[in-house]
Amino acid sequence: MFEKLARITNSHLQRLLLDASRRARGFRNWYWESTCANESEVRGLRLLKEWLSPEQLAQFETHKYFDVTGCHSGKRYRLRYGTGMNVCELDHAGRPLAGWCFVPKDGLVPGDVVLAQKIALETDELAAMAVAKHFVVRRPGTVA
């Protein structure tokens, strides 16, 4: 009797927590988008989200970054929302290995920059890396 009651309560509690977490994430994203500097930035963000895969979108909504796989090398890169020095090559364990900087020629809003980088890495990685400039990234647990 108590076991059954505990199971039911546990299941209700889990659903409640899941729902609360979903709402909190929704609110956080709404707040984040509403604090974007201007309409241009919001448009860029919308366009980026339209072009992300479902997995990338889920990762982006949670962390404000997403991973892509280079079409030629199979290497993984992490793209953070930003306009420069935001591409990080990851090692097999998902740790940052090297930073790469390449951006669209014209000044664009962050969403557009990240989307251009994603498409470049997924469709012509070699061309993107041919122009990219390397920068050192600090690995977690190391002193700069």
């Binding site: 366009l47 020629k105 664009l108 251009a116 498409i119 997924e122």
Partner: protein, 73 residues
Amino acid sequence: MAIQIVMDHKGDTRYHFDPKDADALLRAEERFKELTGAGFIAAIRTASGEPAVTRKFDKAAEETLFFPRLVGG
């Protein structure tokens, strides 16, 4: 309706056109050539949703995205 999306300082500019309208299709093709000629990269999405770069105007593409060429930052 098909769409051409051009990234710019405003975020993007969108050009909608009816691919069944010959004139509209011609204008879209001219825009494609003009933009790629100016160094823009054109990308479409495959049936599975993955991006693909295209160097030729695709009449059947529902959505084409143009972004400026990439340079080292």
